[in-house]
């Protein structure tokens, strides 16, 4: 190993630049001594860095003993937190908060619809597909109607929730804006249990 280039490459601090690597490579192409020495060093480095069988159990136990010792000596004081605490995930909190907010909003909309505010006494009631079932009820009538609905569809809450209660003016606006609502103003009969119950109401 008399070649200075090889020695220099191993005595350098830090990683060589691209240019230095290129120069070294070109040099090795023509210098057999450096080529062999470099090949040996690469093999040795690989052999040393290749880790044998895992000693994870030993490492884990050692960390446990160290922490115990540290606590005993009063050097370590804090309690270890779980590695992935649930509330430490801001990414999870955002959708959770959003979902919670939406649930609260839905609850209040269903529980306290706008007619309870007393702004208007005329309401139209129509099903989710736009069919108007009952029209022009005042606040008391609407409340009674809701109670009837609850009585009729108590076992089928999804049917109740599928109904919308909207101020009558809006219903009429929508009806005139979209002619498909108009025939339904005459409470078209629909097949099935829901229509029968509606008639009873």
């Amino acid at each position: 190993m008399e070649c200075k280039d090889f020695l220099r490459s191993w005595e350098r601090n830090g990683k060589p630049s691209f240019r230095e690597r290129l120069v070294s490579l070109l040099h090795r192409m023509k210098c057999k001594e450096c080529r062999e020495a470099h090949s040996f060093m690469v093999k040795l480095s690989r052999a040393l860095k290749e880790e044998g069988r895992s000693d994870e159990t030993f490492f884990r136990e050692m960390r446990g003993r160290l922490v115990e010792e540290g606590r005993g000596a009063g050097i370590l004081v804090s309690e270890p937190l779980p590695s992935r605490p649930f509330f430490a995930f801001p990414r999870l909190l955002v959708p959770l908060g959003g979902a919670l907010l939406a649930l609260v909003l839905v609850f209040f909309l269903l529980r306290f619809p706008s007619h309870r505010t007393g702004v208007s006494s005329d309401y139209g009631v129509y099903s989710w597909d736009g069919m108007v079932l009952v029209s022009q009820l005042n606040g008391d009538e609407l409340k009674a109607f809701e109670e009837e609905l609850e009585g009729a569809f108590g076992n089928h809450p999804s049917l109740v929730y599928s109904l919308s209660i909207t101020p009558w003016a809006e219903v009429m606006d929508q009806a005139f804006a979209n002619s498909r609502f108009l025939p339904s103003l005459f409470m078209e009969e629909r097949s099935g249990r829901m229509s029968e119950k509606m008639e009873e109401v």
Partner: protein, 181 residues
Amino acid sequence: MKTDGELISGFLSGSVQDFEELVRRYEREVYYTALHVVGSREEARDITQEAFFRVLKGLKELNDRERFRSWLLSITVNLARDTLRRESLRGRGDCLGHEVLGGCSDEAFQKLSCLQEREELLKLLALLPSRQRLAVVLRVYNELPFKEVARVMGCEVATARSLFWAGIKEMRKRMGKKDGV
């Protein structure tokens, strides 16, 4: 990712997590450095554990926190040397390969021909005198510059450099001997 300095600050204020992270970051390096130097898993485990116990007790004395790695490796190397010294007193000798290869004789090298390349190289390393072996491990495995190798070994830079090259030369010579070059 926290720097060593940040983890050390956390540890000094009593954080278990920061200390565990610091140990996790260096445990493999300490263990394999010790293993390459002393050549025994059992001894390497003892050295690793003892090194971190010393860290636990002495870290507050470390002034330059960013030099933690080199400080830790110095502890490891000193412990490894103590182990080798003990072994030497027991008559095992400085050359780790004695046990494995049945001495540094020509027959031993003949046996190497049937071994894998990695095992071959590790055994050649084990045959080196301890200081040369240490210089080779610190430079090649730990990738320390010679200045740091010298600091960890507690010698001059020129000494560290000559020990390293002497070790490499010896290994290559033995490799060539084995290959019949």
